[in-house]
């Protein structure tokens, strides 16, 4: 490659940096700033108020009438439930996505394209509509519900308006984001490696754990990030399939900006959510670095 002058380099990288700065940096800064302000009387934020961390302490402590701080687990439990739901969604998506991606890559060229098409088709419909569709599928005297009742011996099965329903909805919504990156990795997979593993004495299970899973790891990590992060912030599924009964972090934020008109508190929760996601990303980056030490 020829040497690039600093001027030319700035010209090439500059526009991209500018876009990121304006479209990501500025809004995030505004959000962080708002999270330090007080609640306004009309528009949700009082720009004149003195900045403080009150909105953050409110997440953990509640001010009693006499001014003492009491531990309030409400928000922490919502946070915990969100993380737990997102993690469960990710784990289920990995365990469903890996076999599907593996199966897809074993198909013929034409069949592969059709499979990719089938997996991406749901994206053509709005997420809201798809969640309402699940409402019909899982409703009390629907086919799925009746089938479940027939199999399950311990009384009627409640499929809707609970954590299980949210989990089903989240897995359904984000599964393609897991399948596609894993499949992209397998598409170039050299099937001779699998033959080599068999040849060297590995049975199916050990060929899977020793060869296929390690080689699918980059796709699984990419897929996990694509599933975990939006699951953590999602609110549509919890609102519709959860029946608004069990609140997730996304719903809480939406509530603050909507009905509650408490933008600063919503912004504070958003910052916490963002920090949480950053932590996850950093954790993955550190873990990946340790897996492949620099040579």
């Amino acid at each position: 490659m020829s040497a690039t002058s600093p001027f030319r380099r700035a010209g090439l990288v500059g526009p991209a940096l500018l876009v990121v700065l304006i479209l990501v940096g500025v809004p995030l800064s505004i959000m962080a700033w708002v999270s330090l302000l007080g609640r306004g009387a009309t528009i949700g934020v009082d720009w004149q108020s003195a900045p403080s961390f009150a909105n953050y302490t409110k997440l953990i402590w509640e001010e009693d009438f006499d001014g003492t701080l009491l531990f309030n687990p409400t928000y922490l439990s919502i946070l915990w439930r969100s993380v737990w739901q997102a993690a469960a969604t990710t784990v289920i998506c990995v365990s469903l996505g890996l076999p599907v991606a593996l199966w897809m890559s074993s198909l013929s060229r034409g069949a592969r394209d059709i499979a990719v098409l089938l997996i991406t088709i749901p994206f053509w419909t709005n997420l809201l509509v798809r969640n309402y569709a699940w409402l019909i599928i899982l409703r009390e005297d629907g086919a799925v519900s009746r089938a479940a009742d027939a199999i399950w011996p311990f009384g009627p099965v409640q499929l809707l308006y609970n954590d299980a329903a949210i989990l089903i909805g989240l897995v359904y919504s984000f599964l393609p984001f897991m399948i596609l990156p894993i499949y992209a990795g397998f598409e170039k997979f050299d099937w001779r490696l699998l033959e080599a593993a068999y040849d060297l004495g590995a049975n199916r299970r050990r060929a899977l754990t020793r060869v296929i899973v390690p080689l699918a790891m980059p796709g699984m990590i990419a897929g996990s990030m694509l599933v975990f992060i939006p699951s953590l912030g999602s609110f549509v599924t919890a609102a519709i399939l959860g029946g608004g009964k069990s609140m997730m972090l996304g719903n809480l934020i939406q509530l603050q900006f909507g009905q509650s008109r408490n933008w600063p508190f919503g912004a504070a929760i958003s910052v916490v959510l963002l920090a949480l996601m950053m932590l996850v990303l950093m954790g993955i980056a550190i873990w990946k670095n340790r897996q492949e030490p620099k040579r």
């Binding site: 050299d190 001779r192 033959e195 080599a196 060297l200 004495g201 590995a202 049975n203 060869v211 790891m217």
Partner: protein, 351 residues
Amino acid sequence: MTTTPSAITVQSVSKSFGRGDAAIRVLQDVSVEIGAREFFTLLGPSGCGKTTLLRLIAGFEDLDSGSILIEGAQIDHLPPFQRPVNTVFQSYALFPHLTVAQNVAFALEMQNLSVADVRRRAGEALEMVRMGAFANRKPSELSGGQQQRVALARALAPRPKVLLLDEPLSALDLKLRKEMQIELKQLQTEAGITFVFVTHDQEEALTLSDRIAVMQGGCILQLGTPRAIYERPAHRFVADFIGEINLLDGQVSGPGKVRLDCGVEIAAAAEQATGARVTVAIRPERASLAQGGMLPAVVTHAAYLGTASILQLRLANGTPFLLRAATANLPEIGAQVSLDLPPEALQVFAA
């Protein structure tokens, strides 16, 4: 009759790919016995079924009919991981996520050996191919020849009864290939196990093998030592495929006589009836230039090879003829020469 069982017995094995009318028969009733510690080569052009036969022995394909035995025990119903054979793949198929040492240790770990045993035997296998210094590298950091060595060490580490090699040298350049041929032969002697080697390179087959099976169209055309295959080819195809040979079409004109299409009648031991169309074959080094030889020809090209020269000649009817001749007293290009074809050097095949 030998009392020890053959290393590999292939009994009337057939294999087709596809179904119904679209099915292609890749192997047709193939039978072969491969002896213990033999360097056995399956030689043939692409699509002759040699790789399929190897993959059937390895267990990557299921056979349609017939059976495969290793040291007298039937193995064709076993999955690949239960067969006492290991494969060196054409593309090496080294695990990209594992180091050289981990690659070589893979099969040993699958045998649930102790950590110390795995380490010791993987180290031994790597030393055998002189790759000990590269134990901690990843396959992507190795050259083609080094990857080849690691693939060999990986397949030899579990001490298989038979090593299957699927065109292992085809990805290497000529010089490296020659070196690896010698090493492969030494390795086989050292390890003392049976090698089944697949190649389309007849020179490689002649250099390495104890015995060669020449395959075409899913059948073994001829099975024998390199010398027998080269000097006494049983088929026109074998004669043409192994080494260089001149094929001259003609007609049997009488007992022990063939009239070539260029008009010359030569003495050749033809078993065919008079009037039958035949092909007379002779190796370039078996013909010679001779004053008053029976076959007239014109020199069209000469290539100097050091120890000898290759002359390209043309017969009266335009048929090209290759001749390997001593470098002294080479005729000029365009010169009229005459050739001597000794009857014992000629082979006659039905056309």
